[in-house]
């Protein structure tokens, strides 16, 4: 092993060699690298950093791929962190001239962000008074489409007029806009990845920002991949993406439901529609007519054939959303129904069940039968069908006993808050599938074959209460 000492030291500056941070050596560089990993949420212990130093000593720096593999083995213990590690490694171990370019690009992005936020500060005022908002709100505003920004400006213009007549309204306007921007952020802003919190070191911050950008671009691509075609190599990335998205949505949810317990929610959409849409109408707030209650989710997964994969991903998303103790019940069906909630919540059982779902080991070969599955649901789990329940059916609609299934869904529909149908078949093909029409009569049907679809739908269900889209019947 000692023979490997040769490789480092001066280290040939070949394109594949790994440059350390100038003047910091193995330890200094790896301590910095580990701090960035931690900053982005990958747990790294001090002992692991020491192991990483030792690993570099035996592997040397001359072969970039080897170094990357070695450090990964030492530092990354959760597969879903691999994409992040990889992006950070690529951004961190760069020669000085590339670091300078990173810093320049980072400065440019920061300047653009500042500019956007300054413009937002300009725009977001009520008459002469700037609204009391935080930086994150201004960022969200800057990220909106021009059309949406215009809508907010028009709203503020009207509000300013009304406010002159009724000064008491002023305080409410701040709240309304703030809330509107919170609702839009960060999902609708279209940024899957937030800018990392700066560390205060120009060069490390540039590197962080670069890594997050790369990752965001990659993830951005993955969002649109049909989940069925996700291959083994992409699995950890998709898993990581789902985890991140669902966690974020969960944070938004907890905020929403915490707020709603305190005071009646203002229905921002209705308010804006009323006041801007018609123009010139005196400024009025609309309150949500119904009390917002966090829905109980009841997921009914078709796991026959290729549906199993979708089932696994959707289940994974829901669990990230509610946590294992959340209000979610999971069933699977092929020729009959089976409750798997307990399997999923029994601590160690989650991953196993994922694999079991995805492995498509459930193959009965007697034909998918939603009618039978729903009969069992009514017989054994009727108590779950309550007015606060939202039923999510995941299926391509290819089933036996269509009539029975339609009838039972209609009956369920009269007891629960809503029934949504997630269909991985592209909407463009629905015309050609007769069963689609039958089920659309009793459930809101959404195309759902990508992470992007899934996120949108759940965002709607959980935050808006009732999703838009085609109405029942």
């Amino acid at each position: 092993m000692t023979g490997h000492g040769r490789a480092f030291g001066a280290g040939p500056a070949g394109s594949r060699a790994v440059p350390l941070i100038a003047g910091r050596g193995f330890e200094g560089s790896l301590v910095a690298f580990a701090s960035l990993l931690r900053h982005l949420g990958v747990g790294v212990s001090t002992a692991e950093v020491m192991d990483a130093v030792a690993a570099l000593r035996v592997v040397g720096l001359s072969d970039r791929a080897q170094v990357k593999t070695a450090l990964q083995a030492v530092l990354v213990k959760d597969l879903s962190d691999v994409p992040l590690y990889s992006a950070l490694f690529d951004a961190f171990f760069v020669p000085p001239e590339e670091r300078r370019r990173q810093i320049a690009r980072h400065a440019q992005r920061a300047a653009a962000a500042r500019e956007g936020s300054d413009r937002a500060a300009q725009d977001l005022r009520l008459g002469d008074r700037p609204l009391s908002l935080e930086e994150r709100h201004r960022r969200t505003y800057a990220g909106l489409s021009e059309e949406e920004r215009q809508r907010i400006r028009r709203f503020l213009d009207r509000a300013a007029e009304d406010g002159r007549r009724q000064p008491s309204l002023e305080a409410i306007v701040d709240r309304v806009v703030r809330r509107y921007l919170e609702d839009r952020s960060p999902l609708s802003a279209g940024r899957p990845h937030r800018e990392p919190v700066p560390l205060g070191d120009e060069s490390l911050d540039a590197c962080l920002s670069e890594a997050c950008l790369t990752l965001a671009e990659k993830e951005e691509g993955l969002r649109f991949v049909d989940l069925e075609s996700v291959d083994e190599a992409q699995l950890p990335q998709v898993e990581a993406l789902i985890r991140r998205l669902s966690r974020r949505l969960a944070t938004m949810l907890s905020r929403r439901y915490r707020l709603s317990r305190r005071r009646p929610a203002i229905d921002i959409r209705r308010t804006i529609r009323k006041n801007i849409g018609t123009g010139g109408v005196p400024f009025r707030l609309s309150h949500r007519s119904k009390k917002v209650r966090k829905p109980r989710l009841l997921l009914v997964n078709d796991v026959s054939g290729s549906m199993a994969r979708y089932a696994a991903f959707v289940t994974m998303f829901l669990y990230g959303l509610t946590g294992p103790a959340g209000r979610v019940e999971v069933f699977i069906f092929s020729e009959d129904l089976e409750r798997v909630t307990d399997r999923l919540t029994s601590g160690s059982g989650f991953r196993e069940t994922m694999r079991w779902l995805m492995g498509g080991t459930r193959q009965w070969g007697r034909g998918t039968n939603l009618g039978q599955a729903l009969r069992t649901l009514f017989r054994d789990h009727e108590e779950l069908l309550t007015p606060s329940t939202v039923v999510l059916v995941l299926s391509d609609t290819k089933t036996l006993a269509v009539d029975e299934a339609v009838g039972r869904l209609a009956e369920a529909g009269s007891r629960v808050r809503d029934i949504l149908w997630l269909n991985p078949v592209p909407a463009a093909e629905w015309e050609r599938v007769p069963t689609v029409a039958a089920f659309r009569g009793v459930a809101r049907m959404y195309e759902c074959s990508t992470v992007q679809h899934l996120e949108r739908i759940l965002h709607e269900v959980m935050l808006r209460g009732t999703p838009g889209g085609p109405l029942r019947g």
Binding site: S45, D51, A70, S348
Partner: protein, 333 residues
Amino acid sequence: MLTVESLTLPALREAFAADGYVCGDEIIVPVYVSIALGKPLLVEGQPGVGKTEIAKVLSRVFDAPLVRLQCYEGLDENKALYEWNYQKQLLRIQAWGAGAGRPRDGEAGVGSGSSGRSGDLDGAPGPTAVPAVSDLEAEVFSEEFLLERPLLRALRSRRRAVLLIDEIDRTDDEFEAFLFEILSEFQVTIPELGTVVARHTPMVVLTSNRSRELSDALKRRCLLLYIDFPDAEKELRILRNKVPGLREELARQVVLAVRQVRANERVRKKPSVAESIDWARTLVALNWTELDGEALARTLNVILKHKDDLELYADPAEADALRLAAHGEPPAP
């Protein structure tokens, strides 16, 4: 023969290749670093991707004894580390009871509770000295009565061992915590015998199918190697290495056919690399040179272990699709 002390990455790479293990640096580098650092290697991956094989290869190329701890639900310290051979202890005690009870010369007054028991029957001291109870106790808790289990065997091995802890995900948290301690210290304390310190830190390989999440602490102790499914090229090379006498053309057909079966979503139990190897061996042994309809019909049971899967391919259409796939032709419409 490799030695840990003089190991280099190229030497390890060569040794693995020479032993017939097909892999690139994505596997060799973590294995190398784990040995160089004396850290356990945790190998994760789907069944049959070659996790267990890594430990076996290591044992061969280092000429090191392979000590295997096969994990299962309910595995405990007694089965993993050591236990006292209690039947033997019992026999020893009975023997003592039958012929003893008399203190040896000069040991009369130890007050060890060797007061007259059944042993006093025939009066005179016997020809062989019979130990006092305290000595008896020491004796039955000595080396001779110890049953060494894999972990202890690996620690006490005179030569550096390869310790394979296979399918660790099948045990429970408690056992994992126990294992963590052993893998941190490479020593154990046996109350009756004292502390056993490893003569040589074993090369430790743990494997997991990820059926459950292992504890953070254990994972931090290890280096992590994830082995992905082999692509067609890698599987072909594995077959060439593992199946002597396999003709190139047939090897390709086997790989393509197996991949078709794996991709078939109606198959219940997907064949792994181990099954491809078995299949190729069977074909060679039976002198098949071509995966035609008949060869398929007669040997498919080697890779299809489930009755439903066999039935599925009994369907002429499925069988034909498989035959076409094996010959690299797209399925008929």
